[in-house]
């Protein structure tokens, strides 16, 4: 492994990470350690109504809980973040505790920003605008996928434009991430699979990103190994706490990797599929990952040799191109073994949508991080057609 002489990067991982069975019981002390006394708990109604996890966290927070915002929806929107901010201001919240998947954590990031800046999310659109810390945020993921608990990125849907907006700011890293397998055991198999493939996509895209570096590679490749060995178990045996903890760790590692190395064309397309067709983000990533690898490997197959090694699909004497092909196929196979759809047509995407998806992907910020420059929407269209 050799990096170029002009390697030049910054690496940030400011979030305190607490891992373990019953780690959620530390949420109150974490809120207190941050100097806060009035937490707003941000979550979604199905999680609160169908599982025990929200009640478990509420019970621990006790007098530190100022109120609960239950209106997070899949693919959070500007309107939901603004509504959360109105609510949090009304209860005089001084910190945010998110309990949920990527939508809850991303909503909480937007909320933490607005509690500091005032106004609406539309007033605060931009990149790295903040000059001082936002409102403290403790994140408790209930999925093992987004890694949002250790990233400074929030993806929020702009409903009017049918596009996903990227909030990116060094002050959006949550202060604390609590990874507890008890928070994920009630996740249904299809979401365990979808979020797990999301984590795999984060890791692979961090490895092929133009911002890849030795630290992000180390985390991403270890994430790939863990996912290889634990995703199917977590899907098939939901109560296996070892598999659940492993997947939380993998998602966290992949999140840290892509927070620093960013993601590329697979995410650009997946964001657009999600915004236009409402397909779950992890599923959209999973559907496009093999084609993204094949597209990039036409120019830079060597990027995928370590990915193939981490996936355990290399053989002595294999060429870089063969390794890349094996890596793409291994990702496809892992999705299939996890019971996920493997074609866009099986996931509710209509052929008539493909052209618009390709156009939207060309204006997604993540496409700029891709190792192979994407010059025309027709190149994205080619990937979409092959994945359809």
């Amino acid at each position: 492994v050799r990096y170029p002489a002009d390697l030049d990067f910054e690496y940030r991982c400011p979030t305190k990470v607490i891992v373990g069975k019953k780690a959620y019981k530390q949420v109150r002390s974490e809120v207190s350690n941050l100097g806060c006394k009035r937490a707003v708990l941000v979550t979604d109604r199905p999680l609160a109504e169908n599982t025990d996890v929200v009640e478990m966290v509420k019970k621990v927070l006790a007098k530190y809980l100022a109120g609960v915002f239950l209106d997070v929806e899949p693919d959070s929107s500007f309107q939901i973040v603004d509504k959360a901010a109105d609510y949090a201001r009304s209860i005089d919240a001084d910190c945010v505790v998110s309990v949920g998947g990527g939508s809850a954590m991303d909503t909480a990031k937007g909320l933490a920003l607005l509690l500091k800046t005032g106004g609406t999310l539309a007033d605060n659109l931009g990149i790295n605008l903040q000059t001082e810390p936002v409102t403290p945020h403790v994140a408790i993921p209930t999925t093992a996928g987004t890694g949002s608990e250790v990233t400074h990125v929030a993806v929020i849907k702009d409903v009017e434009r049918h596009q996903k907006a990227l909030l990116l700011d060094g002050f959006l890293f949550p202060n604390t991430a609590i990874l507890d397998p008890l928070m994920t055991v009630s996740l249904p198999p299809h979401l365990t699979a979808g979020t797990g493939m999301d984590a795999l996509t984060h890791a692979v895209e961090a490895v092929h990103s133009i911002y890849r570096n030795p630290l992000s590679d180390a985390n991403a490749l270890q994430a790939i190994r863990i996912i290889r060995d634990n995703l199917v178990t977590a899907v098939e045996q939901p109560k296996d706490l070892g598999a659940r903890t492993s997947m939380l760790a993998a998602a966290n590692l992949a999140g840290e990797a892509f927070a620093n190395a960013m993601v590329g064309v697979v995410h650009a397309i997946a964001h657009s599929i999600g915004a236009l067709c409402g397909v779950h983000h992890g599923l959209a990533n999973s559907l496009m990952l093999p084609e993204g690898i094949r597209f990039n490997a036409e120019e830079q197959p060597e990027l995928y040799v370590p990915v193939a090694e981490a996936l355990g699909v290399t053989e002595p004497g294999m060429s870089a191109k063969e390794a890349a092909d094996r890596a793409a196929q291994a990702c496809y196979d892992l999705a299939a073994r996890s019971g996920m759809p493997t074609r866009l047509s099986e996931a509710g995407v209509e052929e008539a949508h493909l052209e618009r998806i390709a156009e939207m992907a060309m204006s997604d910020g993540t496409i700029l991080n891709n190792p192979r420059i994407v010059l025309e929407a027709s190149e994205v269209m080619g990937m979409l057609k092959r994945a359809f």
């Binding site: 910054e10 931009g126 990149i127 605008l129 596009q163 907006a165 060094g170 960013m262 204006s363 997604d364």
Partner: protein, 141 residues
């Protein structure tokens, strides 16, 4: 004679460079999204006593106006990009691609990122146009 960056004179020469060369006419032909303001953060130690605002009114490959402006006028424009002098120096020296600088937190963007991404060729053309200005950096004069 080399013109000092940042200064009124440099901005005037930059306007001429954008207008007289074909780089922006081609690269910026799809830009119809309003004024972009570039801000060099104040750094009194090297002679930048106040934030320095550069107002770029660009439309369909044409530079309608490139001038300095007040903070009040600058801050209300649709695209505002702010950075330290050293970062802008890297941009002018083509050592830092501006959109990459935004993604890395070296430049701060207020405005709609997808619009910038769709028009990355316009941003690149604007950077190329700085090479037509004989530039002396304020920390070196």
């Amino acid at each position: 004679m080399a013109l000092v960056f940042p200064s009124e004179e440099w901005v005037a020469a930059y306007e001429t460079a954008i207008q007289e060369h074909d780089d922006y006419k081609e690269g910026g032909k799809n830009w119809t999204y309003g004024v972009t303001v570039l801000i060099v953060n104040a750094e009194p130690d090297i002679g930048i006593d106040e934030d320095f605002y550069i107002y770029l009114d660009l439309h369909r490959g044409e530079c309608l106006s490139c001038r300095t402006c007040t903070p009040e006028e600058g801050e209300k424009q649709p695209f505002v990009i702010r950075g330290d002098f050293d970062r802008w120096k890297e941009v002018i020296n083509e050592e830092l691609e501006p959109v990459k600088g935004m993604m890395q937190g070296k430049l701060r963007l207020r405005g709609d990122l997808p619009t910038i991404v769709r028009n990355i060729e316009a941003a690149k053309a604007l950077v190329r146009c700085t090479s037509y200005v004989d530039t002396a950096f304020i920390d070196e004069v």
